[in-house]
Amino acid sequence: MKIFIIALRNVNRQKKRSFLLGGAIAFGIMIVTLINGFAGSFMENVADNFSQLFAGHIFIEGVEKTEEGKSIALVRDETILLETVREEGIPVQYINKRSAFGGTVFFQGKSVQQQVVGISWDEEEFLKDRLHLVDGGFENMELKKGIILSQNVAAKLKVEINDTIDIRLRTVFGQLNVGDFVVAAISYDPGLFGSISAYANLEYVNELLTLAPWEYQTLGLFLDDIRLMDVEVQRLYQALGEKVELFERKETVEENPFMAMMRQGEEEEWEGIRYRLFTLNDFLKELEQIVITLNIASVVILLVLLVIIMVGITNTFRMIMYERIKEIGTMRALGMQQGGVKSIFLLEALFLSLGGAITGLFTAGIIMFGLSKIYWGLGTPLSLLMKNGYLTFSIQTGQALMYVIIVALFTLAAAYIPTRKAAKMKPVEALYNIGTFRR
């Protein structure tokens, strides 16, 4: 036990040196932890944000083959879908119904391609929190023909609030149709993932698509917990498969399940009504590359850090051995075995690295706490990476612990070389500082 005390007091002996070395370790661990913390919640936040924009985690889309052999997208009878969801006990928070079309927007001779999504605003209250308006207001959507355009589209068309625009589209049956809309609001466009959709009223979108007012195209299931989506979609896929025709969900290297289903719809010979079951993750898989990149970056930083630690520790301990060689000789003369000498100095190295690593973790924790309290606003491109405009971090205890252990092991390895050399010296040479550590 006294050995611990000696080692601990020895760390304290050269305060400045220990502080610098421990500080370097702390700094490195802090950076790595911050990156990991950010990467850890990145996917979750992005997925969260998209699930609100898309109004769900799991989606069911109906497709119907007409007598002429055309595929039209609509959910004509939702009962069986909703029943299955209920019977299976899928933990849904909200169920949203949407229709959408891609069309061309015209305004005073200018035109732009735009995806238009029809929403039941009464049921999708939370979209109002997600959609950051730069002009106009949601109250304008009470107008049946109201539309929310993105900033970019509004700028291209040079429209202002209350301007009337025309949108040319095709109905579900493929006929040309034109609808006039009134600009109700203009939303912020993060510009990160292509242009964002325009939002209109479901009722009017259905009308233009020539769907009945109670019909829609996509059923969005908003789960209690976003992390459940991969498991729940499998369950639902099994259960629905027994009652209705489903496109096959399969994932390959080139295709996510959604793409595979779209292809099936075109390639395969089929009749009647089929459903596509897909999740947000099907699209977001591609974003995982960013997380992987961040994690690789943190590993590289960790490696660099470890090299610096190795060099720093080896040099420091060589210096320590030089300074304390007489002490080592004394301890050896008094009957300390070589192993005892090693223990004292390795413990010192361990305390130094643990002290540094824990300080680093702690500092990272404080910084993350601080950053997560700052409101960055929704009007920045980075807002898609945040939770309601706040940065969030997620630390895996196991990973943090592993870094601490790795740093400790590397420190021990680095300290071991000079320590062993000193321990193996003849006591007399250590005592009178002859040979090895003489300058």
Binding site: N10, E327, A333, G335
Partner: protein, 234 residues
């Protein structure tokens, strides 16, 4: 009873391309309870001989025998154990552990052995040693708060902690003024009498050797005289 025996011991040091013959063939015997001074001018080989007896160095030729056991054949581990169990050390420049206080410094050798003393017993024993060297009030002080004489007293107490048969002191007074130095030697002598510990101290100061019972004079690595004033009773 003979406790240490040196037989035709020599020690050579390589020095650049030449060799220094520090000890050139020395034979003598120390008996249990001796209070012996190895005296001689600087460079005469005192430290070398003490290092050989202390098993922190090995002779080039000849034999060092402690308690009838020849030290040259032993492994580092065994030699270290022997040092711990049989020998105590006092150094010219005190060599206390700076991060430990007086009590802890004295306790230090007791942490190294295999046999464990009870906590209470150990505490009492160290307190006794602290008292014996007159540092009770300084028990909690670190070495850098002590004078040279006080530090050497701590070193004496530390050397005695494991109750060794033999205590080696290489010029224990060289860093002290003469009065303090003499009191240190007197303290060692007192302990020698009380505990029957064998003391071997080296010095180049002729004014203190009179305290010794047994004096070996060295010059240029050879014994030039040996004088035994008193034979300890044992």
């Amino acid at each position: 009873m003979s406790i240490i025996q040196l037989t035709d011991v020599t020690k050579d040091y390589p020095l650049g391309k030449t060799t220094v013959h520090a000890v050139k063939g020395v034979t003598f015997e120390i008996i249990e309870g001796d209070f012996i001074s190895i005296a001689g001018p600087s460079g005469s080989g005192k430290s070398t001989i003490l290092n050989l007896i202390g098993c922190i160095d090995t002779p080039t030729e000849g034999m060092v025998t402690i308690n009838g056991e020849t030290t040259s054949g032993l492994k580092d581990r065994e030699i270290t154990r022997l040092r711990h169990n049989v020998l105590g050390f006092i150094f010219q420049s005190f060599n206390l552990i700076p991060v430990l206080n007086v009590f802890e410094n004295i306790e230090f050798p007791l942490l190294l052995g295999e046999e464990r003393m009870g906590k209470k017993e150990k505490g009492e024993w160290i307190d006794y040693l602290v008292e014996e060297v007159g540092l009770t009030e300084w028990k909690k002080h670190r070495p850098n708060e002590l004078s040279g004489g006080q530090r050497q007293r701590v070193a004496i107490a530390r050397a005695l902690a494991t109750r060794p048969q033999i205590v080696l002191a290489d010029e224990p007074t060289a860093n002290l003024d003469s009065t303090t130095g003499e009191s240190i030697i007197e303290l060692m002598k007192k302990i020698n009498r009380e505990m029957n510990t064998t003391f071997i101290f080296s010095t180049h100061d002729m004014s203190i050797i009179h305290i010794a019972d047994h004096i070996i004079q060295l010059r240029d690595g050879l014994i030039i005289s040996e004088e035994r004033r008193e034979i300890p009773v044992s």
